[in-house]
């Protein structure tokens, strides 16, 4: 029994509930990423785990102990904030030593732990500097160092990279991944709105939307088997194409007819009751290819061409679809607006969702 356990955790500000009953189990040593659009409640959930927000209802257990009413400092957690939250009037050393000094640790102990943490993060030359004399990346490392010094059971990261520029973000992301490897027993919870961070760092990803958990799973699972339309559209870029269709054939494989008239049989099992009902057919832009033999899944006029060099994105107006279908085709292609094009895809890589938006895989 270790790690974290959230049972029907809720948060309400007055009459408005913002977290609607979250159930989640996190194992010791796991790296879990909370991801979702802004306002989905991911930061609130993290702050509830930290103890910075009260828990309105439900239970939060860390290491088997219910910690709902335990103040942050006694929960065995450390937090790295988006703005680093370094104490501006203290040197790097003092910043890292602050929590131990409050806990009245011995001088030698403080010295030892801070030096060790500084070593790991290559901060040793900067120990006597003030935060304002350091770059953004260095400050972020100090913030992480401050967390390491506390030797917590759980590390909490609240969008730690969002204040860094793009290049530094990649470098620091790699450092966090290394840090995780060097601390295999520490649980880490990481909040971000950036799916690349989520996909690269996480053991498991928790996708949140509007205060609900949409899906929990390993990064590739989310990509390959999204549980619902929200996850399907949230993971991957450009987002998955969703086109309306009708189920015509049920059983071990499902046959659907698109509103344009084309049909396709997807190797996904479906119940007989689905027959004749509307479904959503999903296929990722990168799984589409130009049709060469006349058989097409969808076809229409190109409305926009984005040439990025390695790939070309085609936006195609398809009859019966409100939004254009996007195709991501490797290499450079000289298409023009208004040209007609036919696209095809491997049925094995398609996704089917029922009318409510739930994947047929999880019914």
């Amino acid at each position: 029994m270790s790690g974290l356990l959230l049972t029907d955790v809720r948060k309400a500000y007055g009459p408005t509930e913002v977290i609607h009953g979250v159930d989640l189990e996190i194992d010791q040593g796991e790296f879990v990423v909370f991801v979702g659009p802004s306002g989905c409640g991911k930061s609130t959930l993290l702050r509830m785990i930290a103890g910075l927000e009260t828990i309105t209802d439900g239970d939060l257990q860390i290491d088997g102990t219910r910690v709902n009413d335990i103040p942050p400092s006694l929960r065995g957690i450390a937090m790295v904030f988006q703005s680093y939250a370094l104490y501006p009037h203290m040197t790097v050393f003092d910043n890292m030593a602050f929590s131990m000094r409050i806990a009245k640790a011995s001088k030698a102990e403080i010295q030892k732990r801070v030096t060790e943490a500084a070593e790991i993060l290559q901060l040793t030359p900067y120990l006597n500097r003030l935060p304002k004399a350091m770059s953004g990346g260095q400050r972020q490392r100090v913030a992480i160092g401050r967390a390491i010094v506390r030797d917590p059971k759980v590390f909490l990261f609240d969008e730690p990279l969002s204040n860094l520029d793009a290049a530094l973000r990649v470098a620091t992301r790699i450092e966090i991944a290394k840090l995780k490897e060097s601390l295999p027993n520490s649980t880490m919870i990481y909040v971000t709105h950036d799916q690349v961070e989520a996909m690269t760092l996480a053991d498991r990803i928790v996708v949140l939307s509007a205060g609900y958990i949409e899906q929990v799973g390993a990064p590739i699972d989310l990509y390959e088997k999204p549980a619902n339309l929200f996850v399907a559209k949230f993971i991957g870029s450009p987002a998955m194409n969703i086109v309306p269709a009708t189920a015509t054939e049920t059983g071990t494989a499902t046959g659907v007819t698109l509103s344009g008239g084309n049909g396709v049989t997807v190797p996904i099992a479906s119940p007989a009751t689905l027959s004749g009902h509307a479904v959503h057919l999903g296929f990722r832009p990168e799984d589409l290819s130009l049709s060469t033999n006349g058989s097409a899944l969808v076809s229409g006029e190109i409305t926009l061409v984005e040439s990025l060099g390695e790939v070309t994105n085609l936006y195609v107006d398809v009859a019966g679809c409100e939004e254009p279908v996007v195709a991501k085709i490797a290499g450079i292609h000289l298409f023009r607006r208004g040209e007609s094009v036919s696209l095809t895809a491997d049925p094995g890589k398609m996704h089917l969702f029922n009318e409510e938006g739930r994947s047929l895989l999880y019914l």
Binding site: G51, P71, Y87, H89
Partner: protein, 383 residues
Amino acid sequence: MAVAASSRAPLTWAVHIAALLLVALWVFPTFGLFVSSVRDKDQIAVSGWWTALTSSTQNQVTRAPGADGQIERDGVFVIAGNVLEGGSGSVSHFGFSSRAPTDFEAGEVATLRDGSELTVQEDGSFEITANEAFTKSRGQRIFYTATAPPRFTLDNYATVIGAENLGQSFINSMTVTIPATVIPILIAAFAAYALAWMRFPGRALLIAGVVGLLVVPLQMSLIPLLSAYNTIGAFFGVPAKTYLGIWLAHTGFGLPLAIYLLRNYIAGLPSEIMESARVDGANDFLIFVKIVLPLSFPALASFAIFQFLWVWNDLLVAMVFLGAQDDELVLTGRLVNLLGSRGGDWEILTASAFITIIVPLLVFFSLQRYLVRGLLAGSVKGG
């Protein structure tokens, strides 16, 4: 704005001239006071301070030595001297009667009523000659018109600091101001932190209360506090008007602004720093002492300057809660008294006024940055 101004040269000139005029209008009165305070007191009374650098013409009177000052030279009796008494300047006219004080030009010979002759030279030296010995012990009055060069002196300051007791009042003002500035700071800072970052029932009400008290006129407090002080004083057999009383009063009156100003500032500190300290195990007391207090220095300085200026410049509270005797009268009170008793003596008033305003002016010019910041924090959200 730069876009609008730079394109038209004549407009730019108009702006410069307008600014210059406005600045002159605002500086002139104070400048006049300062110039006057270092002028010779006789010159202040007869010419405007703007003429301080030019020579001034004065009609003066002096009395020659009496008979015992005479000497006999070649059978003529002479009383000699200098009307300017060694001072610089020159005499243009002179006379011997108050009805015709400028009848004679310098160097001319005037015949006095008793037949003796008076001459005053341009350099001020005079001679009264007669064939017979002088007998009157009272000397002859000599009227003269002297053109005096500008004279600057610190005598006025010496006078007011010594004879008018401004030195003592200066110390009294310091005595009132220093504790009354420092004591409220800590009290206000703790309260401001509580109102900014601690969660407790009634917080919003308390903040509204502080904002409300910000504008309660001092006048409301005077009578009840004065009678309370009288009662307490009588009960303990001590005077009602003491320094302790005024320190506490200024502390009370200064608190709303102090709390408001500091709360605005402290509430603006990044919340993640407080949260980080909380996660690190600090309680509110430690967060306040180790994080908030060091970071709030600019706001504390702003308030200290406000309170210093306000207490130093205050007249009303001092008049109500302090006595009027020498060891309690503050500078502002002394200045009001002088306005009553020495209304026309501008050498006294200008020097006294300058002594009263010099400390605030020094504070103002050296710490203006903090003052401006405080004003903005107090009036406009976010500054």
